[in-house]
């Protein structure tokens, strides 16, 4: 058929989102379309793609005009059958991103009850059979386009989104804007949301107020730092504000320890949260003589006496 005859857009059956065509174009250019797309007649007399939407886009990108397709209009007379054909063909051959899963679930809802979707389809999508999960996925489709793209590319985690859905709409937008701008990794996203929410609640401020505070904006707009540096600086600033006493105490201990010139191969550790009461000393050595030398050097190191009890360094500073 002529490619122009195929309806524009993904249509009612296909389930592709957030993809790139480079590799597929290269494959089609070199080997052609090996597996013909499935199509069916629609009410307007045109053709809907049942499966193979990306192959058709690749052909269009390669400036081809014709495509060999398989017409399933008679073999699969109902829309439900066509949707399932597309679904089963895809599910057997590739992984779906989370927006694609959401699209599939939404389309299945037109033909199946939530109970059936949970029991029969969600396990195939590697999702737990739980109506709460179904509702959550359907919510993803209401996100703005740039956010959906970020979800599809996994630059925003579902855990982050779940946490974000607990904020009001305006706050969600502000938080997402900063998460994307700072290019936070998945763990950083969780920390960022946790800190900002805790600070807002503790200090009776809105999310907007927390994120537009002068020092935070300065970090975000510092022309001398790159994105990872900005991300670290922003998180550290928030951490200091959320955990003022802990942060000060950690710094006090660290400054005491780093002032001591420990022999090479000797490292002093402490619990980062200052909960375990003891320090731990590690000595790396290559043989017994090496160990004795390290111990002798340690023994003669008067500065060791300045190591304070954890928390004492902080209390004495105050």
């Amino acid at each position: 058929m002529e490619l122009d005859e195929v309806a524009q857009g993904p249509g009612p059956y296909t389930m592709s989102y957030g993809f790139t065509l480079e590799v597929l174009c290269e494959s089609v250019a070199k080997a052609g379309v090996l597996n013909p797309p499935l199509v069916s007649r629609n009410e307007k007399g045109g053709w809907d793609v049942v499966s193979g939407y990306r192959r058709i886009l690749a052909l269009k990108a390669l400036a081809q005009s014709r495509v060999f397709c398989r017409d399933v209009s008679s073999a699969m007379p109902s829309a439900a059958e066509r949707l399932l054909a597309g679904f089963y063909e895809n599910v057997a051959t590739r992984k779906f991103n989370d927006i694609e899963k959401a699209m599939i679930l939404e389309r299945l809802q037109k033909f199946f009850s939530n109970e059936e979707i949970c029991a029969s389809f969600m396990p195939l999508l590697s999702l737990p059979c739980h109506e709460g999960t179904l509702k959550f996925y359907l919510r993803l489709l209401n996100l703005e386009e740039n956010i959906r793209q970020a979800v599809a590319k996994e630059t925003i985690s579902l855990r982050t989104l779940k946490a974000l859905f607990e904020f009001d709409h305006a706050s969600q937008r502000l938080l997402l804007q900063d998460i994307l701008r700072l290019r936070l990794n998945l763990n950083q996203q969780t920390k960022f949301l946790d800190f900002v929410r805790d600070i807002a609640l503790r200090e009776h401020r809105s999310i907007r107020e927390v994120l537009s505070e002068r020092r935070f904006v300065e970090v975000m707009e510092n022309p001398l730092t790159n994105d990872p540096q900005k991300a670290n600086a922003a998180l550290e600033l928030l951490r200091l504000r959320r955990y003022p006493r802990l942060s000060q105490a950690q710094r006090a201990v660290q400054s005491k320890i780093s002032a001591i010139a420990l022999p090479p191969g000797v490292t002093l550790y402490h619990d980062p949260f200052l909960e375990a009461p003891k320090y731990r000393l590690e000595i790396c050595f290559s043989n017994g003589e090496d160990l004795i030398q390290s111990i002798k050097k340690l023994h003669s190191l008067d500065e060791l006496k300045t190591i304070p009890d954890l928390w004492q360094a902080h209390e004495s500073q105050n």
């Binding site: 946490a163 607990e166 503790r202 955990y243 006493r245 802990l246 949260f273 909960e275 009461p277």
Partner: protein, 363 residues
């Protein structure tokens, strides 16, 4: 206490137990009663605990278990008698909120039938003092008007020589105890907090004054009392708040009849934070500086815990209290806040056993 139970579910395995029939009889026609062939989980909305349903079931495992302490902190060697789970009150900090796969108020109606085996277990270690409590996974007395644990357990304890039983509650449901003839080796204890925390975070629980009025009634009736300030929560003017509770304690209770008072700062599994934020968006209990403890639970940074314990200890000793101990704390926190440490879990256990021996006739 005003119970809001609308439905009772009798599981198939529980039908044969007389305790189940007695509980259902006490409901009379006031609620909807269902029988269920197979226990099944109801599909509940996220974080719903279904406190309007009482489920009567036979617990398949051991009912008496040691309290799950951890190596990293000193544990008192308490034994938990598992009589049920969940409770009709709704405290924002409650650890039971984490158990969503076990919703409803669950009552184990095979309790009476297990008591004989439990008694045999107690007799195998006659030199050991078993400090047993029922208030770990439920409130010991909140459902007593319907379930009548106070008709079953004190007589059982009276037959044991080396065990005491602690009813731990936030309620005023002491009628069953007051009409019970047994007093020996029964401790009735209340969970206390500052009035602000009680009113803002302990939803559905009586005020501190009403709890202490109930405690006074029990003390006057000859019961030995205990108190648990757990969780202590750092909140604005916490010193004034806890001092107010201690003033009330002084007005209502004679400290000589108190066996022990435990102190424990708020701690929670990390997962619970999300639950609390969702179920109690106005709660302020998460405002403090929490760090992961050595047992994986979140707890206040050490200086906060030490300050709170030291403050409470000074006030309680002023009042004349003995038997003050810390729940799940490290030896250095004991030392620096209470001025001494039992050194180990065994040491703490011995300290509390000694308190028990002193107040009761335990060999």
């Amino acid at each position: 206490m005003n119970l809001k139970i609308k439905t009772a579910i009798l599981e198939r395995d529980a039908k044969a137990y007389p305790m189940a029939q007695r509980v259902l009889y006490r409901f009379q026609d006031s609620i909807n009663i269902k029988e269920e062939d197979e226990p099944r989980l109801t599909a509940l909305e996220e974080f719903q605990l279904d406190k309007e349903t009482m489920r009567l079931l036979a617990f398949p495992g051991e009912l008496l278990k040691p309290c799950p302490g951890t190596r990293e902190y000193l544990c008192c060697g308490y034994q938990i008698l598992h009589i049920g789970t969940n409770c009709p009150m709704d405290c924002s900090y409650c650890i039971l909120q984490a158990y969503f796969n076990q919703p409803s108020l669950r009552v184990f109606v095979n309790l009476e039938h297990q008591l004989e085996a439990i008694g045999r277990r107690l007799q195998t270690s006659e030199t050991k003092v078993f400090r047993i409590g029922t208030g770990e996974f439920t409130d010991s007395l909140a459902l007593d008007p319907i379930v009548k644990w106070t008709e079953i357990l004190p007589s059982f304890i009276a037959r044991q020589r080396n065990a005491l039983l602690e009813f731990k509650t936030k309620t005023t449901c002491v009628e069953g105890l007051l009409s019970s003839p047994f007093r020996d080796r029964i401790v009735v204890s209340w969970s206390l907090n500052s009035p602000a925390i009680a009113s803002q975070e302990e939803h559905g629980a009586p005020s501190i004054r009403r709890r202490l009025e109930a405690a006074r009634a029990c003390q006057r009736a000859g019961y030995v009392l205990g108190f648990h300030f757990d969780p202590l929560i750092e909140h604005p003017s916490w010193k004034e708040g806890y001092a107010r509770t201690l003033d009330l304690l002084d007005r209502f209770i004679d400290p000589r009849g108190v066996i022990w008072i435990s102190l424990g700062c708020l701690r929670y599994m990390p997962f619970l934070k999300k639950v609390i934020r969702t179920r109690f968006p106005g709660s302020r209990i998460l405002d403090g500086e929490f760090v992961p403890g050595l047992d994986g639970k979140m707890r206040y940074i050490k200086p906060v815990r030490k300050e709170m314990y030291a403050f409470m200890k000074a006030k309680l000793e002023q009042w004349g209290a003995g038997g003050i101990y810390l729940c799940m704390e490290s030896s250095d926190v004991w030392q620096e806040s209470l001025g001494w440490s039992p050194g180990s879990s065994a040491g703490l256990s011995e300290y509390l056993d000694e308190r028990a021996r002193r107040l009761f006739r335990i060999p």
